[in-house]
Amino acid sequence: MEIKTLKTRDLKLSMENGGCGECQTSCVANQPCEQ
């Protein structure tokens, strides 16, 4: 019985620490953050 939690960006927290708009226009999963 195993649960391994991967390191992920906290999406709720990204409400506060995201939104700069500097990331590449995707043309969203495959785009890294560029803040």
């Binding site: 019985m1 649960i3 990331c23 785009q31 953050c33």
Partner: protein, 457 residues
């Protein structure tokens, strides 16, 4: 919302609204499914009856497992709520800032691929090349409307942009002047079929192009079936040596080999394998976008074959990575720790707001896939955005405008999907292109499975 799934032996629980990913065994996977709807006693009883041969399924271990689930829930990593998404400023995109343009420098092409969404490069119109004056005016337009955004993107597109090469160079040179004046950074990219590539073009692109999209469909017989010149001759033998030289000169980065698969090659994994065997490591293979009655169109009957191909692709990538000859597949690239923020995940690609396409004569469209459809003309470089109603429609086209996405586990990976695909499939930019959704979800599952596998070592 939780999405639980198993791909090729890897069981994963995705907590949709926190973005947390848990790699689990079959018992934990079932416990996660039961936890919210059953009491502890009911869950324990269900697990024991479901897994009678599981030696570790003791009362102590079950309690420990359920305690762990409780801790993850308290930490906001399981069963997290979407309440935080109800903020009103996330329901509409900012239409005041533009940061990316697709410059149609050539509505002309030296190939005549039958599946081309751009109608062999002419977008239902006439052969036309963009002037340097129009191209430079487009960069001025972009800078003026970019607000505080520092990174600006310009993709040279067509048709075949290399048919207007001198103008491409002039636009790039002008962009570099604007960078200094306005403290901006232009990212130039170019999409090409490769036929006109030569050493001079490669050298310039290596200096100036952040990324190159190089069109190759894979195996020679597949590629040459569609990608032919105006005399019907295949282009594989012309472009492959050029692409290999180009990629070597770019030190194997800053490019994607980009193919299209159709009904004709549902075994597209063999085309990706072929690309990798040719020495390319940055690969992208896309399902064809065409009318449903087109004989090349993909249908729901094809999905089981395509799903299997994506899973086999993930296994091939793992195998080759372990052999020291790995390659990347665009749609499996997911950065869990440094991925997009929630605002990006709700707003999508930005078509019609922060991303526009510019035709050779300077008309503006929401994106390259709407060019040629007069109903989607938004304005022009001279007059600016004049179709404010259309702009508003795109600004409101966020994840929240897609009612059918409300219960979908992949909603924060796709942001409601591509507006052009939705429009062509349903007649509405906020519709849902169901076949595309199914393929997208399978790709995300495989991408997460790869992440799980890569953390094993």
């Amino acid at each position: 919302m939780i999405h639980t799934f198993t791909v090729r032996g890897y069981s994963i629980a995705l907590d949709v609204f926190s973005g947390s990913v848990h790699v689990v065994d079959r018992v934990a996977l079932e416990a996660i499914r039961l936890y919210e709807s059953k009491t502890r006693e009911e869950t324990a009883s269900s697990l024991i009856s479901l897994f009678p041969d599981e030696p570790d399924l003791t009362e102590e271990n079950i309690n420990s497992l359920l305690d762990t689930l409780g801790e993850l829930k308290s930490a906001g990593k399981l069963y997290s709520s979407d309440d935080y998404l109800r903020s009103t400023d996330l329901c509409r995109k900012d239409s005041a800032v533009i940061k990316a343009l697709c410059l149609h420098v050539a509505h002309a092409c030296n190939l005549t691929c039958s599946y081309c969404f751009a109608g062999q490069g002419k977008y239902k119109g006439q052969t036309e090349l963009m002037s340097a004056e129009t191209g430079c005016k487009a960069l001025d337009f972009l800078v003026e409307r970019s607000g505080k955004r520092r990174h600006l993107e310009v993709d040279f597109f067509g048709g075949e942009p290399l048919l207007n090469w001198e103008v491409v160079k002039e636009i790039v040179r002008y962009g570099r002047e604007l960078e200094k004046k306005h403290n901006k950074l232009f990212r130039f990219t170019l999409t090409t079929n490769g036929v006109a590539l030569d050493e001079e073009i490669m050298a310039f692109c290596n200096r100036e192009m952040h990324n190159m999209v190089l069109s190759l469909d894979g195996r020679k017989e597949i590629h040459d079936h569609y990608r032919v010149d105006h005399k019907g001759r295949g282009s594989y033998d012309i472009i492959v040596p050029k692409f290999q030289e180009f990629v070597r000169s770019r030190k194997d980065s800053g490019y994607y080999i980009r193919g299209t698969y159709t009904k004709n090659n549902l075994d597209f994994l063999e085309d990706i394998r072929h690309m990798a065997d040719l020495g390319f490591t940055q690969l992208s293979m896309e399902p064809v976008v065409t009318a449903p009655d087109d004989p090349e169109a993909l249908t729901e009957k094809d999905l089981s074959i395509l799903f299997n191909q994506y899973e086999e692709l993930a296994l091939l990538m793992l195998k080759r990575k372990r052999e020291g000859r790995g390659f990347d597949f665009y749609h499996f690239n997911i950065d869990l720790e440094n991925g997009p923020c929630i605002k990006k995940r709700l707003s999508g690609c930005g078509s019609g707001t922060e991303y526009l396409a510019v035709t050779p004569n300077g008309d503006l469209y929401p994106c390259h896939q709407f060019v040629g459809d007069e109903g989607f003309k938004m304005g022009s470089l001279d007059e600016g955005i004049v179709n404010l109603g259309l702009q508003d429609e795109f600004a409101k086209n966020t994840l929240f405008s897609h009612q059918e996405c409300r219960d979908c586990w992949a909603q924060l990976f796709c942001a409601g999907g591509c507006a052009a695909n939705a429009f062509h499939a349903t007649g509405s930019i906020s519709g849902v292109y169901k076949l595309g959704c199914e393929l997208f979800k399978k790709r995300i599952e495989c991408a997460l499975m790869l992440q799980a596998a890569l953390t094993e070592a």
